[in-house]
Symmetry: C2
Subunit: 398 residues, 2 copies
């Protein structure tokens, strides 16, 4: 009995495969500072919970495959408030940002087609691309260049007749980098010169901690027909389990084709759509409070990482991750060791090994991603102390 | 700008494409008896609604990619009560039965691989198979043979070195047929002799109206490693919008591979999982009440259809659809005409044209599927009167 080459080639989630080690450490009474995953510890807005409570239909029905009219209207207003011009008719509600990305790639790529992806990348991009048998072509960004893009000539060399799209998260997971104006101009020119789509994953759009002008590809003149926005309420509203995402594009044909995929799976969870439409534009100062909290955490973790011997920290301007260089040869081994063989006063720390963010796993071998969305500043300080002690102990025995 | 061959080849939902005509008829003041879609008019169990109300975490978090432990335990008990031996570890929670089918096919088939499907089939099977660039190979069942399977020799001729699986809904959508013991034996032997998987879509398992012994492929000796169960709460619990489904298999390797697909999309809606785990085994006599209601509707619609001149009705033993032969050449045209050009005393009726249930659309041209899940017996009687009058008027002008 055999399974598809597709699933054989897919990896288990590099983040989720640490879970058994964490559970085992916890069962030994160790306190684990969990910094491996992007599950915020911040409350979901009350308006979402109120919406869930107020759902009053006695039948939990299918909705329109595009998403409910109310929710698409709410997103239209949400984008208008964010300076992005997309109407209700340009939007399809999806089951989380994950489904949005899969549907975008599936609408654009046949088996063997290529998608350019800035590397390091959100690990699941690799799986999403494999799910439709397309091929990921990495644009490698280097830590020693602060994860900035290479010049356009380097990008040009990666384009082939099979290249269909560029998939980018901005702000970036895992680096926290925000694209500069010149990087965006290069990507725009590349897309226009080679007839490529830009799949713009903006699920961290509002999480920006430095005085940087953020621009959406949606707003770049000339790109109207080439940009597919991927969005989600998971991160901005601390509602990862709602699984409410969006595809947006001013390209009517794209939306019309992607709708076929939406119709095949019938609809998105009804009650979450209802609660999201109640919440989306009615949370007052919630988001500014969340941003202030994450900025404080970003500052704290980076200040402390920079002081640890041998650690290379590129301070993230956005999102809620920092991808550091560690003075060890194999962070997969170190991550497991921290959970199975180490504690400092009954505590340890979990993080995502860097290999999961690279096509060529070797390139990530000495890197590690710390998420600061789930820890208060004092816990971050404690976790960094534990990390420092763990690094010293590990280097001593290796 | 071009899109993938995959989406170009996909159809819009044959059922959902009638919606604009229905909306237009309603706007003209016509009462439309909606019999085109499988959205029940029966209340979702109170226990589900109570579960939604009782969700108390202040953060709507990701769950385990497999589904919550509580929900998988609840499904283990549910299957035990249904005479099916699957443990929690054999189950993955999915975003509706739709995702379950896509993941099953994706785990088994590479591009170009073939899936045998009994035709007429649930329309979205065609889309799901295309989504992974596999190929649907129909096993055509004929109305004049009461939609029974052809002999095994005929099935044998459809198997090629590329055949990977047989996908079947039992009870069947759209015919309502339930597989006989000899049909199941033939399918079992075919699977074993040619190393095929059986993807058993049992979302209508409990909707059986005749004294027929229902057997699950899960319970056939020798098939343990070859059967993938697809299930959902949508139909049994009248909770289509919850989007809670299941993949089940005693084949550990299959579950382990399919988990990679689950991990890529992170998790299924948290609050619906919670409410489903509260509801699943705690609805008392709910299901027997639903079955009695559908049986009454099945009897009513079939009694009336059989009396209409030129209509061929194969009485369904299960599910909640009847796929009839109509005395018209093109039911796509007739369905649209009924909504745009006809009313009987201010009423008309919507149904799903047969072409959507066949690979070769011609084979379905004179067939139509009526769903009886959304209409009380008196409304069914009214709708059948309208259909009879519409048929007479349409045949008069064509």
């Amino acid at each position: 009995m055999q399974f598809s080459n597709r699933v054989n080639a897919m990896d288990y989630s590099p983040v989720r495969k640490l879970v058994p080690y964490i559970e085992e450490a916890v069962s030994r009474g160790i306190h684990v500072h969990e910094m491996h995953i992007g599950q915020p510890n911040i409350k979901t807005p009350d308006r979402f919970m109120d919406g869930i409570q107020r759902y009053s239909d006695h039948i939990v029905r299918y909705t329109n495959s595009k998403g409910t009219s109310d929710l698409r209207k709410a997103f239209e207003e949400f984008y208008r408030n964010n300076g992005i011009s997309l109407t209700k008719e340009d939007l399809l509600i999806t089951q989380g940002g994950s489904e949005a990305i899969v549907f975008a790639i599936s609408t654009l790529c046949d088996p063997g087609d290529e998608v350019l992806v800035a590397e390091p990348f959100y690990s699941n991009y690799e799986s999403f691309i494999r799910m439709v048998d397309a091929v990921m072509v990495p644009i490698t960004l280097k830590i020693e260049e602060n994860y900035r893009f290479p010049p356009k000539e380097t990008l040009e060399k990666l384009v082939t007749p099979k290249t269909r799209a560029i998939l980018l998260s901005n702000p970036n997971n895992p680096t926290g980098a925000i694209l500069s104006e010149s990087e965006m101009n290069d990507i725009r020119d590349l897309a226009m010169e080679h007839d490529l789509f830009i799949i713009a994953d903006e699920v961290y759009r509002n999480f920006i901690y430095d005085p940087i002008h953020y621009n959406s590809f949606l707003n770049m003149p000339g790109l109207e027909d080439r940009v597919v926005l991927v969005d989600s309420v998971s991160k901005h509203y601390s509602a990862c389990g709602a699984r409410i995402g969006v595809i947006g594009s001013a390209n009517k044909q794209f939306i019309s084709q992607a709708l076929k995929l939406c119709q095949a799976r019938l609809s998105v969870s009804t009650i979450e759509q209802y609660a999201t439409s109640e919440m989306l534009n009615n949370v007052g100062e919630y988001l500014s409070g969340v941003i202030a909290a994450y900025k404080e955490r970003r500052d704290r973790i980076c200040d402390l990482l920079e002081k640890i011997d041998g650690v290379v920290c590129v301070r993230p301007s956005g999102a809620f991750y920092v991808l550091v260089g560690l003075p060890v040869a194999d962070t997969d081994d170190f991550a497991a060791w921290m959970l199975t063989n180490f504690d400092y006063m009954g505590e340890t720390v979990s993080f995502a090994p860097g290999s999961g963010f690279y096509c060529d796993k070797e390139k990530g071998k000495s890197k590690a991603r710390f998420s600061f969305c789930a820890s208060e500043p004092e816990e971050i300080a404690r976790a960094m102390k534990v990390l420092e002690m763990g690094l010293a102990a590990y280097r001593n025995i290796k």
